[in-house]
Amino acid sequence: MNKQEFLRGLRTALSGLPQDDIEERVTFYGEMIDDRIEEGMSEDEAVAGIGTVDEVRAQTIAEIPLQKLVKEKVRPKRALRGWEVVLIVLGFPVWFPLLVAAVAVVLSFYIAAWALIISLWAVEISLWVSVLGAVAVSAVFFAQGNSIPALMMLGAASVAAGLSVFMFFGCAALSGGIIKLTKKAGVGVKSMFIGKENSK
């Protein structure tokens, strides 16, 4: 890939950012490539040294706060025409409840997922409590000389302990998974606001 292709690709990838911000970044990367060439690298090597357009895009997204991206996207590229304003205002009773409903649905799925995980943790904790309880009861039985029910309680305690060890790994994996998913969703929301991934 030569310098011009890289910079053109970068400009497309960053579209959505403020125009002067894009220009400044493109100039910066252009200067970096020129300096590498001046040092004796070939143009291809110099461009490759910077990384791919998608890498630069990903890093740029990671570094810009979400509020800035949203602000830039929400601001219209041109002034709204009169009839568009009228349409938006008249359409408010339609689009606003739909928007709220959509957000509520997504949010409720997310909350339900957490509720499931929390209830699994609750089961996990109650299993451990029952282990302690069963051990205590079996000790009482032993003290009274009832060794058969005491052994039964001890057996029940070890079954519960085994189950809870199993469940612990399941719960931990689920919690970790949903936290990772949340972070990914954050990046996903950000990338909705800036350019498009180059599929070339």
């Binding site: 910066f28 990367y29 200067e31 970096m32 020129d34 300096d35 990384g51 570094e63």
Partner: protein, 105 residues
């Protein structure tokens, strides 16, 4: 390394790289290489942040028929480096305390 900590360290590294003489993007990356690997987009963000904070100024110079941006440290940038040195003394004493705790165990 912790992201916040790394960000603070990188700021000071970049300031140190332009402390003695004005420098440009690619040279800063090369100068810092023995100390820390810095990608172009990270450097861009740091330079922008330092410029907004008034710790450096930018000057565009013609070089070989093209333009190159040179970064110049300001008084407040120099002060930031001095602050960092003082802060670091505290960090070192915390480090000593933490590692001593280890050897008692």
């Amino acid at each position: 390394m912790d992201v916040q900590l790394k960000r603070g360290l990188l700021d000071v590294c970049v300031l140190a790289a332009i402390k003695n003489e004005d420098s440009y993007g690619y040279k800063i990356i090369k100068d810092l290489k023995p100390c820390i690997e810095l990608s172009e987009s990270t450097l861009y963000t740091i330079l922008k942040r330092l410029e907004c904070a008034g710790m450096l100024t930018v000057r565009i110079v013609e070089h070989d028929g093209r333009l190159r941006k040179y970064y110049h440290i300001t008084q407040s940038g120099v002060r930031r480096i001095e602050e960092f040195k003082d802060e670091w003394k505290e960090v070192i004493s915390v480090y000593r305390f933490v590692t001593e705790e280890d050897s008692h165990e």
